[in-house]
Symmetry: C2
Subunit: 199 residues, 2 copies
Amino acid sequence: MAAEPRRADEILEVAARLFYERGYPSVSIRALAHASGIQGGSLYHHFASKEEMLYRICLYGSEGFFAGLGPTLTAGGSFSERLQEFVRSYVLRFWERRYPIAVLFRESHHLSPAHSEELRLVRRRFQQRFQRFLAEGVAAGEFTVPDPKVAGIAVLDLLNGIDNWRRTSGRLGIEEVAGNYAVLVAQLVGARSRKGASV
Amino acid sequence: MAAEPRRADEILEVAARLFYERGYPSVSIRALAHASGIQGGSLYHHFASKEEMLYRICLYGSEGFFAGLGPTLTAGGSFSERLQEFVRSYVLRFWERRYPIAVLFRESHHLSPAHSEELRLVRRRFQQRFQRFLAEGVAAGEFTVPDPKVAGIAVLDLLNGIDNWRRTSGRLGIEEVAGNYAVLVAQLVGARSRKGASV
DNA sequence: GTCTATAGCTTGATAGAC
DNA sequence: GTCTATCAAGCTATAGAC
């Protein structure tokens, strides 16, 4: 990735789009090569296998995304304020990298067991980090949910659903969608300011 | 489906599970046959093609599910009460038929264009029906959301996420999960009783 | 770094016996 | 209703020329 980055990354960007649209097993080596303007055999100069292509796409989707969201949960401000920033940041980052991230979420079970497990753990740790944040908010009296673990999964599922329905031609800009979701998630967790006033 | 229902339906039940676990393109005719204890060629006595198997599974997932949920939105009671019953019913029905329904949601783009479009329309009409319900609840002063269309999609995405994380061995029974989600969704839409008291 | 050619295998589907 | 045998096509990956 450092030695000869450019051509390989161009190919992976095209491949991410194809895996996103048709699913990993339905995209042949020939189709991947054709979309990059080369022949099938030439791909093996850049990658050892089709699985390696999927792995590097998933890794790119994972890198930065989960790690970049962590700080929003530990920044200053009330739990409600931090949650708002988390949601806003999640939506914008997700949308920006939606092809590799959606491929990570939907196709990573086609990876080798080792690669699949590696990526699953990163995601799992992130989910747990978010669930802990909600539990802390409940303990602090800012959030009200029946079960922070269920609520955490529900929020993340809701956010991940964006790429199922939003189109670039949509009625709302991505900033508006982010603002909308920030309000909905705040209501979902029963957020109220520390002053005690109902939201 | 009425003339010679039994054997074909047994095969489809096994097939739904396999498509659910591995994805349609990754399940071969031979694998489908093996899981039903017969040979590959024998499947073509029951089905004209692999695509027909997928179609009938998706159709089974769709049938009853969407139509059965409609009445909960038009039943008696306040908007909040109807929403509670909708969510409860959604979770229980979804879980009961999770293999064919998840296959419908995740794999129907592998159908022929005509079949895919047919099922897409049924789902789309259901989504719109639910969005209209939320808009009416907002107009009646029972719900508060920034945009009923976005809120509707968000709620359905949240509910559909269940099969991503719940296992039959899970900590909570499906009834508990349903109750949990009913509370979360009520909070998400800002539900308050007609008396005006904050939930 | 890309090409052509091809090995080795699996795929969905068909034909015909029983 | 299930079997065996098989076809034609497509698949991933490799080899070697340029």
